[in-house]
Amino acid sequence: MENYKTLKADVMVIGGAGAACRAAIEASEKGMNVIMIDKDIPGKSGATPCALWSIQAPMGKDGVSTEDTPEQFFEDMVNGGHYFGDQNIVELVAFTAKERIYDMKKYGVKFAFTDDGKFVQTPMPGQTYPRSCFMIANGTNMSTNLAKEVSRRENIRVLKDHLIFQLLTNKGQVVGGLALDQNEGEMVAIEAASTVIACGGYTGLWSFTDNPPTLIGDAVSLASRAGADLVDLEMNQYYGTDLVWPESARGTVLLYECLHESMANGNIYNKHGEPVFGNPLPIRDEAIKVIYKEIQAGNGGPHGGLYFDLTKCGAGIEKAKEIYGEMTTKQYRFIEEATGFNMVDTPLEVAPASHYQLGGVYINEKCETSMPGLFACGESAGNFLGDNRLAGSALCDTQTTGAKAGETAAAFAKDSSFVGLDKAQLDSMIGDAMRYFENKAGAVKSSDLRQGIREAMTKYVSPYRSEKGLTAAKNEMLNYSDDLKKIQILPIKKRNTGWREALEAEIMLDTAKLIIDSALFRKESRGHHFREDYPETDNKNWRKHTLVRKTDKGFDYSLKDIIYTRMPPKDGE
C-alpha cells in the first residue's frame, strides 16, 4: 500500500488568500479542474485579511478621481519603484486594475461609494490623483468574499489545512506538489498540469513583523528547490511604527500616515520626550530610517521602541481617538482588547517591523516563472514593484497578477498532457519528511529552532545592513541547518505542530540564506536595501535585478537587466 494519497487537477493553486483565490477563479472560468490548497483556512489565512482599506486602481469617471488614467498609474508605479520594476508587468497591473476591481465587486467585496455612485478614492503618498478605492471592512471583507466565490465554483476543489512543502518535478518541469494534511497526518501528492504559486511573501521570517508568522517564504523556498529563478530578495520593506509591547499585541500597525498635520498632527518621541521629526513629517521610508537610528542611538524606551504619543498631538486626544478609531477600527479595538490600553491615552512604544516583500519568484508579463509548468503571482512574485512600493498597490497586484497567472496556467494545462510523477523523487521526499520522527541524541525542539531563525533575521537583516551583520546572520543560519537534522518530534499523527514546524524550518532556512546572500551581493543602497558599508546608490552599475539561479553547485547570484517599455529612465535619474 502507498504511504500517500494522490489527487489530480489541471491546475493547482498554492495559497488561499487574495492572489490564490483570484488565480483559482480565473482558471475555473477557463473550464479547468482546479485544486486550491492552503496550509490554513482559505479566506482567513495570509496577509490579505490583515490589510487595511486601500486598493489602488485608476477608476477614471467611475471614481472620484475622474482624470486618473492607467497611463498615470503606470507612471506613478515606475516613479515610486525608482525605475527598478519590470515595466512589462507594471503595464499588466496598471492597465487591468480597473477591470479587476469590478470583478471584486461582482464577487461581493464591498466598496464605499459617493452619493452619486462613484468609487470613493483616498489619497496616498505617490499617487498623482487619489487612487485608493476604499474597501469597507478592509482586507477581511476582500478575502472572505473571494473565498466565497471560490467555493461557489464546482470545478474548484478546496483543500484546507494542507501544507505544501515540496514541488514535484519531472522531465524538467513542475508537475505538482507534495502536501502534509495536518488534520489527518497524511501525505498527499497532487499531480497538476500547471502549478500556480500564490502563497504570499516572507515577512514572517522576522520575529518582529505586522504580518502573520505563517508567511515564511514558502514561495521562494519551493520555487528555488524546483529550479525556478528568484529575484531581488534583499528588498525587504519595513513599516516604521508597529507596536513593540505589550507582547500580546506586538506588531500591530499604528498608522503613521494619520500623524499628518491635516489629521492628528502628531509626532514620535524618544525616551527624553523629544520629538524625532521636524515639520512636515518625512515620507514613510525616510521616517523608518529616523526611527531606527534613534533607537540604535539608545534613545528608545524600556521595550526598545520610540513613543507613539498621541496625548501630545496637535489635534487633541478626542480628535485622535476619532481618527484612529475610524481609520483603523480593527487595530484600535484589538489593542484595547489584547492589552487593556487605549492607544491614544497611553503612549505606546513602536519600532520598524517587517511589512512587505518586494522580491520573490521571477516572472514575466504572463506570470510565467523560469520553470515550465510553474506560475507565480501576488506577493510571491518579485520583479515588478521596484525598490519601493506605493501604499495600496499590493492588494491590486494580487488581483491583476492573480487573474493573469490563472489564465496562463489554464492555457498551459490545456495545451499539455500530464507528464506523470517521478516515483523515486516522491519516495525520497516522503522519506525525508518522516525522518523527524526518528530518535536522535541531543534532540532539538522545532519551536526553538523556528524562533532562533526569526530572531536572527530581526537582529541582523534589519533596515540597515552591513557585511558584518549579514555574515553573522549567515553563520547563525548554518548552525541552524545543523540543528535541523537534530529535530525530533512527538509520535502524534493528527495536528502534530512539531511536524509542521520542522517542515517549515526547512523552508525558513532556505529562504533566509537566499535573502542574506542577495543582501551581501548588492554592494550599494537603494529603496528598501540600505547597506551601511555601501551607503550610495549606484545606478550605473547596480540598477539591475539581483537574480538567484540554482546550479549544480548551489545558487548563483548575478545581475539581470530591468525591462523598460514605455518609460526608460532618463540619464542621471
Binding site: 490583515c50 464546482e154 476543489r157 489545512d161 508568522p213 505589550p246 507582547e247 484589538f334 505542530t497
Partner: protein, 126 residues
Amino acid sequence: MAITKVKVFRYYPDVDAAPYYQTYEVEMDENLTVLFILKKIYSEMDQTLAFRENLCYKGGCLQCLMTINGAVAKACSTLIKPGEEVLVEPVFKSPVVRDLVVDFGTTVTTSCGEFTLERGTVVTKK
C-alpha cells in the same frame, strides 16, 4: 509573578476513550492573551497540546476562535491577568480534530444553494 491556572480541554479522538481536562500552572508577570498563554504552554511545558497557532495574532482572521470561560471568543483578544483562572475549550459545534483544533466547516449560502467546505476535501453541495 503569579501562577495562572489554565484548565484546557484535551481530546484525541483516535486515541482517547473520552475527552478530559488538564490544568497547567503558568507563571505570568504581565497580562497575556489566551493565545499567548497557550503558546507559552506549548513551547515551555507541553508539546503535545494542539491548537491553531498559525494565525494573524491581530484580531482579524477569526481562526483563533475557542470557547473561553464558557463563551466563544477570540483567543488573541481575550486578556488574562496573572493569577486569574481560565477554562479553555474548543468551539463545540465543529468536530474536534485534536484538543482545541476543530474543523471549521465553512458553510456558504449562495444563490445556487448551500455549500460546505468540508475537512480537507471537496466543496460539496448540500
